[in-house]
């Protein structure tokens, strides 16, 4: 009955069950259908690239943690695994293994750890890795193979617009980077994330909505543009990265819509066929500003008394 061993702490004395680690592994779980579809369409290449990229990302994180004299167990938070998987799934199937490894190292070291690790990076690390690979190995990064083959190169739907039907785009039997071809698998993952409270609908809805509306206004086929390229993968899994996106609900709308606008500008008038990477990276850069602009009005501030 004596109180000598009682714990004293400030309220609240109970916590929500969700943890950062659970959030990260929920994303990993949501990526499984995407990876499975990629493996179905592109076979061993999918397993090779995603595994290499993931293992490298986790290993690079562990090495940096040792150098920074931080507990190595931090890699267990799952964030490096998410980065590795996302990078791997954004690569073309025929990419040489060493490039995937290099991309993953750049993603973790330059994209994340130089800024201070988890939570401190301004840019989506997977997209930093991808942008590095596109800039360095533009040929390898834009050479795609047709599904169910290892060697036959093929143009992606965005380059050769008339070659594919909606159903092919939806199920994923088109050429493209590993995880981007199957809209179905991405939607499954996205619905799972939404259901688990990990995904804020504002970003994908703003992103896809603004892109579709703009494409329609410019006389393009909006459904084709939503389903092709890496737009869906990016809108569901990359633009919703919590660390690099605004923390206010209003800011998330602005972020999503901004991504859509930039994507359309690049797809229609840029020199690249796809604008996903840069649309998100540019909006990542604007995130601190958006957070500042969209400070919620504090309860009771700026209101008049009743008399």
């Amino acid at each position: 009955m004596e109180g000598s061993r009682l714990v004293i702490s400030l309220s609240p004395h109970i916590r929500d069950k969700d943890t950062t680690q659970k959030i990260m592994f929920t994303v990993v779980l949501a990526l499984i259908p995407v990876w499975a579809a990629a493996t179905y369409f592109f076979g061993f290449n999918s397993i090779r690239l995603v595994l290499l990229s993931s293992i490298t990302a986790v290993a690079a994180e562990a090495v940096i943690m040792v150098i920074r004299r931080q507990p190595v167990t931090a890699v267990l938070d799952g964030s490096a695994l998410v980065t590795g998987m996302l990078l791997g799934l954004s690569l073309p199937p025929s990419l040489p293994s060493w490039m995937a490894v290099l991309g993953a190292v750049v993603a973790i070291v330059v994209g994340k750890q130089v800024f201070g690790g988890l939570g401190s990076n301004p840019f989506n690390p997977a997209l930093v890795g991808r942008a590095f690979l596109v800039a360095s190995f533009s040929k390898a990064m834009t050479t795609w193979t047709a599904p169910f083959t290892d060697t036959v190169t093929a143009a992606t739907p965005l380059i050769n617009q008339n070659a594919v039907s909606y159903s092919e785009l939806f199920f994923g039997t088109t050429a493209g980077s590993l995880g981007e071809t199957s809209a179905l698998a991405i939607l499954l993952g996205g619905i799972f994330l939404f259901y688990r409270g990990v995904l804020d609908y504002r970003i994908p809805v703003g992103f896809l909505g603004s892109a579709a509306v703009l494409m329609f206004l410019f006389g393009e086929d909006p459904i084709f543009h939503l389903l092709s390229g890496s737009l869906l993968l990016g809108a569901v899994f990359m633009a919703t990265d919590m660390v690099t996106t605004p923390i206010t609900p209003k800011g998330r709308w602005i972020f999503g819509i901004g991504c859509g606008v930039i994507l359309v500008l690049i797809r229609l008038w840029g020199s690249l066929p796809e604008g996903l990477t840069y649309s998100i990276l540019l909006m990542n850069a604007a995130t601190p500003l958006i957070n500042r602009w969209t400070r919620p009005r504090i309860f009771g501030q700026g209101v008049k008394t009743h008399e």
Binding site: L6, I8, S11, D18, S120, I298
Partner: protein, 434 residues
């Protein structure tokens, strides 16, 4: 009946089922009563007794000595053993009157009134003041000060707060369910005392029993019972006013500025007791619960009863306690000493085993924005936390640290288990000192 919602808030496991249906048990007066002179927000009352004095139940032993203060009465009859600082629930040792119960329960002449609704506003105010009534919802603001502050203002609504949103606690629930007619009477008396035009009783929708009983007891009178969403902190005063009346109390302001006063259901009950029976505030309903309480329940406890005694009345502990709280798990105060007495602001006593008392190592913030989403004061807790960690008090104030209502939702929801509220509270104390 429409359910009224408000922005922000969280859904912790309520765990109210443990005690919600258990009738209030009356606890015998304690052998030794410890009566702190501060059981409320404001200045300490001035002791009127000294060692060796004889006192009776209901006798005033601490008098008001400041504008924000409440008188204190003896809950037992007996001999004053000491007037000295004793440990209290807030962690400080406060000047207390220690009374040894003589077991006679001799009561002072309480001056009851058969039909208190006939009393004038000034008479009701006098009774509320002399009964030492403070807000029984946990904050402990002297009721008479609240009424007086609104004197020169038109009060459209009196909200009687039955939104007991803290998990585990069912004291207000039982007050509404068992002392229904007294709550209604207290509400009418409070409305008369403060000149309020309309009475609204706001109850969380997870207490249908209370809603039904109150609606029935209100009958054809002008009292409206409304249903508030089951969400923490539905019982927070300013959030409740916004939800019920769609009026927003200005930052730093008080409810009367928007023509509203809010009193807890327990306070209404205490007002009815004071006016009808002439009984000062010397007891309150306390929920005793938690995973290691043998027989959880709701108890009518005389103020000044040590926690230890109340816990024993609930069957004691079934295992070694790791944490004992005064109040609920979201805003309650952790105790290190079980000799502290039950005071006017103690809504519950909760005891938890090691299994329930988790301590977390904070991880880096991943900017998930959940704290922003749940903050009922519409703050950005994550930003204030960062400013506080870096000692940037001006920026913390600029981001509204002083508007924090201390509900703890930010810390509760944080997936990285960061002590957001901890830092915001530090910022508040630093800013207040400047």
């Amino acid at each position: 009946m429409k359910t009224i919602n408000f922005r922000g808030g969280v859904h912790p496991e309520y765990s109210k089922y443990i005690t919600a249906d258990l009738p209030v048990k009356v606890l015998p007066p304690p052998e030794i009563a410890i009566i702190p002179m501060v059981q409320h927000v404001g200045e300490a009352a001035e002791p009127l007794v000294k060692k060796g004095d004889q006192v009776k139940v209901g006798q005033i032993i601490g008098k008001i000595c400041n504008t924000v203060c409440a008188s204190v009465h003896s809950p037992v009859s007996g001999t004053v053993k000491a007037v000295e600082p004793r440990p209290t629930v807030n962690g400080h040792a406060l000047l207390s009157v220690v009374i040894e119960n003589d077991g006679l329960d001799a009561v002072i002449d309480m001056n009851p009134h058969p039909d208190p609704i006939q009393l004038s506003a000034a008479e009701i105010q006098k009774k509320i003041e002399s009964a030492g009534i403070v807000g029984l919802g946990g904050a402990g603001f002297p009721a008479i000060v609240k009424i007086n502050s609104a004197k020169d203002h038109k009060i459209d609504y009196l909200i009687i707060n039955g939104s007991e949103c803290e998990p585990y606690l069912t004291a207000d629930h039982r007050v509404m369910a068992e002392y229904t007619s007294e709550v209604i009477l207290g509400a009418k008396l409070l409305a008369k005392a403060s000149g309020a035009e309309k009475i609204i009783i706001a109850v969380e929708e997870n207490k249908p029993e209370c809603i039904a009983k109150l609606t029935e007891a209100a009958g054809s009178s002008a009292i409206e019972v409304v249903k508030v969403v089951t969400k923490y902190p539905a019982g927070s005063e300013k959030q409740l006013i916004k939800a019920v009346c769609n009026r927003e109390v200005p930052s730093n302001g008080l409810p009367y500025q928007v023509g509203v006063l809010v009193h807890n259901v327990g306070t209404a009950w205490a007002v009815a007791q004071a006016c009808q029976k002439g009984r000062p505030l010397i007891e309150r309903v306390v929920t005793v619960s938690g995973d290691i309480i043998k027989e959880p329940g709701n108890f009518l406890v005389r103020l000044g009863t040590p926690f230890k005694t109340v816990i024993q009345a609930a069957g004691g502990f079934t295992a070694e306690p790791a944490k004992v709280l005064a109040g609920g798990p979201m805003m309650g105060l952790a105790q290190y000493n079980l000799d502290v007495p039950v005071v006017k602001t103690v809504t519950g006593i909760l005891a938890f085993s090691q299994k329930e008392v988790k301590q977390y190592d904070p991880m880096p913030c991943i900017k998930c924005g959940r704290c922003v989403e749940v903050c009922p004061a519409h703050l950005m807790p994550v930003r204030i936390e960062l400013f506080a960690i870096n000692g940037m008090w001006d920026e913390a104030r600029d981001y509204g640290a002083m508007d924090c209502i201390e509900c703890g939702c930010c810390t509760y929801i944080c997936p990285s288990k960061r002590g957001l509220f901890h830092w915001i509270k530090l910022a508040k104390s630093k800013i207040a000192k400047v």
